[in-house]
């Protein structure tokens, strides 16, 4: 349904951030983009959602297609109406609105008001805690509750594709599992396709179908989640696993050398 074809993204006409990214999301899939800070993961999401333009970024080469329609260069409003909602990173809320008002803002683009009420119940079904907090000013929610709220707000737009940016950021491991479990259920039960950006590779690879690894604005590795979990480089750099019981040479410990070769 979403096809990103070899895009280059430039900020302020000079800073080349994405150097030819291609990826695909099929109907009903969960896809992860993994990578370190500054790899270009968030930029990729913003290129899809159109938010790039608010930051003086521009897709200069390649194309982004959604169900066969070319959407690069569209405004964020048009893209949301098409069914792509980005949940931006850092749990950004309308802090002075209540929990329920935040959710309703997520549904403001929609015309079918009866369905909005139904979706509100759906969000409360996935995140029962939000229902208890519905009248509370959202700025005072805890970090986990805020993350639930931003995902819920994304759902209220009734997207066919949700772009989730780092839902695990700054959350306790147990909460991360809880959030990812709900993300998996939303995908399975509502059929929402999800493009997930994560640094927490372990949590992400447990729920996704397919993953892309980005470094320095390029995709350096991609494959089905099981394959990535078994990949030696992923194990070492992203899951923090090394082969146990073997002696390691100090040359190998300087893994940036291997990384350099990897990027070649």
């Amino acid at each position: 349904m979403l096809a990103i074809n070899n895009i280059e993204v430039v900020y302020s006409d000079v800073i080349l951030v994405l150097r030819g990214i291609s990826l695909r999301v099929e109907e009903g899939q969960i896809i992860a983009i993994l990578g370190a800070n500054g790899a270009g993961k968030t930029t990729t999401l913003k290129a899809v959602s159109g938010l790039l333009r608010t930051e003086l970024g521009e897709v200069q080469r390649g194309s982004i297609e959604f169900n066969g329609t070319r959407i690069d260069g569209w405004s964020p409003e048009e893209i949301v109406r098409l069914g792509i909602v980005q949940v931006i990173e850092g749990r950004r809320l309308f802090t002075h609105l209540t929990t329920e008002e935040n959710l309703l803002v997520g549904a403001l683009v929609r015309k079918d008001r009866a369905a909005v009420q139904r979706d509100l119940e759906m969000v409360y079904h996935y995140f029962p805690r939000l229902k208890d907090l519905r009248r509370k000013v959202s700025g005072y929610l805890s970090g986990g509750e805020q993350q639930m709220l931003v995902i819920g707000r994304g759902l209220m737009g009734h997207p066919s594709l949700m772009l989730l940016d780092e839902p695990s950021l700054g959350l306790a491991p147990l909460l991360v599992n809880e959030i990812f479990e709900v993300v998996r259920r939303i995908n399975a039960e509502e059929g929402t396709s999800i493009l997930l950006v994560e640094q927490n590779a372990r949590a992400a690879l447990d729920v996704v179908d397919y993953g892309y690894v980005m470094e320095n604005g390029r995709v350096v590795l991609d494959g089905p989640a099981e394959a990535l979990r078994e990949n030696e480089d992923i194990k070492e750099f992203y899951l923090g696993l090394t082969s146990v019981g073997k002696r390691r040479s100090y040359r190998e410990v300087k893994h940036y050398k291997r990384r350099k070769r990897w990027l070649g």
Binding site: T54, P76, E77, V80, F94, L97, E101, V105, L108, V137
Partner: protein, 314 residues
């Protein structure tokens, strides 16, 4: 009974000043409402608001006095033109400045103020234009309202009718805006856009159109204030904007984003002004007191009484 005294002035006069202060303050509240609507939506502090008032009032004058249209038609027509003017101002002068530093937008609204003043001078001249809404058939002003309080306050309280009207208009405007922001989808989208533009865009809100809408609403509020002001003291191209300037302390006192704050701030400034005028002198009340309050607010409570505090979780 004449010996009822409060701080050296007759008690009935003090009470009259208090009531007049509330009524005068409602005028400031009305001006403050217009400022708050724009600031809430787009974080632009509109220094040209006083001139928008003037233009709105003069438009009504032109339709009512010059063209001889019925009063209601004139008022609605003035509102309609004001909306177009508001949308135009937003589209032409402020939209290109989205993302620019605050100072740029401030300078732009100051430039707009001068521009509007120039237009007023060109079209209507520098003379005050009275808007005789509160006049009887012979064109004489309505007699003031007299409250029979001589029995227990030592004197009758006298209130100007047009000030009572400004109070009514402010109350209507306040009620309408409160309901609008709380219960309508458009109101909710405006509150959301006010908080975080990028976030609002990410959920698909047409942020630019929302800014335009805020200007349209503020232009109506300004025109209403201008008409009320014109009916009271006439539309003077110097006095009306000066009066709007005294609403700035009201906005800051109440809090820039708060509609109830605009009301409370306006009433407070009104009372401070008339009390100071009564006890000391009119010039002290009008020229000095509001701005002393403004300075105190900025020093002690820069967010204002009802302003949005930045919510920071620790």
């Amino acid at each position: 009974m004449a010996d009822l005294v409060l701080f050296g002035k007759p008690l009935f006069l003090a009470v009259q000043w208090l009531l007049t202060g509330l009524l005068v303050g409602s005028m400031y509240s009305l001006v403050a409402l217009g400022l708050v609507v724009i600031y809430k939506a787009s974080s632009v502090f509109n220094f040209s608001h006083g001139w928008l008032m003037l233009v709105g009032g003069l438009l009504c004058w032109a339709f009512f006095q010059d063209q001889g249209w019925p009063l209601w038609v004139s008022i609605l027509a003035a509102f309609a033109v004001a909306v177009i003017l508001g949308l135009l101002i937003e589209r032409v002068t402020l939209r290109p400045l989205i993302g620019q530093p605050v100072l740029t937008t401030i300078m732009m609204t100051l430039a707009l103020a001068q521009l509007l003043q120039g237009i007023v001078m060109l079209v209507w001249g520098a003379n005050p234009h009275p808007l005789p809404i509160f006049a009887d058939a012979a064109g004489l002003p309505m007699p003031p309202l007299k409250l029979p309080t001589a029995g227990f306050l030592g004197g009758d309280i006298i209130l100007k009718v047009q000030l009572l009207w400004s109070f009514v208009v402010t109350a209507l405007g306040f009620g309408a805006l409160t309901l609008f922001f709380r219960f309508t989808r458009t109101g909710l989208s405006m509150r959301a856009a006010a908080e975080d533009h990028q976030l609002a865009q990410s959920v698909g809100l047409p942020v630019r159109r929302i800014f335009g809408l805020a200007w349209a609403i503020a232009a109506i509020v300004a025109a209403a204030a201008g008409i009320v002001q014109g009916a009271g003291t006439g539309l003077d191209p110097i006095a009306v904007p000066t009066m709007a300037l005294r609403a700035f302390p009201a906005v800051l006192l109440g809090g820039l984003e708060s509609i109830p704050g605009a009301i409370v701030g306006g009433l407070t400034i009104g009372v401070v002004e008339t009390m100071t005028s009564g006890y000391i002198s009119t010039s002290a009340g009008q020229e000095l007191a509001p701005f002393l309050v403004l300075m105190l607010v900025l020093i002690i409570k820069p967010d204002g009484l009802f302003g949005q505090k930045r919510i920071e979780r620790i």
